[in-house]
Amino acid sequence: MFITRNMKMADAIHHNHLLLPVINRLGIQLGFGDLSIEQLCDEKGIDIDFFLMIVNAFLDHDINKTMKLDNVSVEQVVVYLKATHQYYLERMIPEVENRINALIQHSDIDQKQFLLVKNFFEEYKHEFYAHLKHEEQSIYPYVLEVNQANKIGKLEEDLLQKIQNEPIDSYAEEHTDIESKLFDLKNILIKYLPESKDSYLRNQVLNALFKLENDLNDHSRIENMVLVPMISVMENELLKSC
C-alpha cells in the first residue's frame, strides 16, 4: 500500500509500525493526534514530497517504478542518511548489545558459547562503525561536492580527478561483508547454538537483529536507488561539460 499525503499519520503507522523510527528521523515525533501527513509536514516544515519518497521507499522495495528522482534534493537525502546512522549508533546497536548481555546473564547453557556470539557481534560492530565513518567522512562530502559543482556548473580540478578515479558507482558494492556478518549471526542464533529450555531471550536478540537488518536494507536501498543514480547522472554531466 502506498502512503499518500491525505492519509492520517496514525493510519500509516498502524499499517506498518516499522515506520516509527523512519518518521522520527524525518522529524516527526509521536503525539500527532489525528493530523494528516500533509498537515503534519506543513506544521513541522518538512518537505512533503521528500517525506513520501522516503516512507514509500521503506515500504515498497521496487521503488524504481514509483519514484521520480528529478525533484529530490541531494542535501536532504544526505541529512536523512546521517540521521539513520545516528539512530543505529545510539539506539539499534545498543539495543542488540543489551539483549545479548541479558541472554548471557540468564542462560541455562554454557556461557562460553554465548561469549562467542558477543565477540562476533563486537567484531561486527567495529566493521559497521568503520563503514559508517567512511560514509560520513568520504562518501557524503564527495556527494555534496558533486551536487554543488553541478548546481553552479563549475568543476574544479581535484573534483574532476575524484570523479574520474572514484565515481560513486564504485562504492555501491561495499556493503556486502557487513550484511554477510549479520546474516551469519542470525543463523548461528537460529540454528547452531545448542537448544535451551526457554528461547525468550534468544528471540529478543533475533527480533532486534531482524529489525536492524530491515532498517539497513532500507538504508542501502535509498543509497543505491536514489543517491547513487542521482550523483551518477551529475558526474556524467560534469564530465561532459569540461
Partner: protein, 190 residues
Amino acid sequence: MIILALPTYVVRKGLESIFRELCTQKKIHSTANIQELNQYIKDSETRLVYAHSSFIPDLQTNYHRKDSCKIVRVIDEKPKELLEEAFQSDILYLNDDEQSIIKNIKRNIALTEKANEGSSEESELSEREKDIVREIALGKTNKEIADNLFISAHTVITHRKNITKKLGIKTVSGLTIYAILNKLIQMEET
C-alpha cells in the same frame, strides 16, 4: 530469481501472487517490458522465466551463460485438441484449470531449486567439508588449505561455496563459531 513477463496487468499480478504463495524464493520480478525481460535473462541469477507468447519472438536467448535458465511459454488459450494431452512443464496455458496451473508452477520451481543448490536436501557437511571448515576456522588461507589437504585451490573454493550453501554462514568468523559449537576445533585453538 524468477521473472514473470506478461503484458496484461491483472494476469501479471495474479501469477505473481500465485508464485508468492507457492515458493519461499523472495526474488520474483514481474515486467511488461521486453527490454527489461531481456536484461533479466542475461542476469546469472535468473533461473526461471515465464514469458507470454507475444514476447517470445523478441526474446534474446543467444547469450552465453554457464548455468541454465528455464523459459516457460505462457499461452492464453489451450487448444481444444490438446485437452487430454500429457503434462508439459515448459508451457503454461492461462485458461487451464487450477490444478494444472499449480502443478506446472510447482514442478518448475522444484526444478530451479535443484539447479540452484545442487543437493540442497543434504545440509550435513561431508567429512571433507568438515576438514575445510576446521582449516578456515584456524585462519588458513585457501592456498594453505589446498596444500595441507593435497587438493587444488580451485577445489577449496568449490567446497567453500557448498559449505556456505549448506550452513547459511558466509564469513570466516561465522564459520569459526560454527566449528567451535560443533567441536570441529577447540576454543583454545583459535
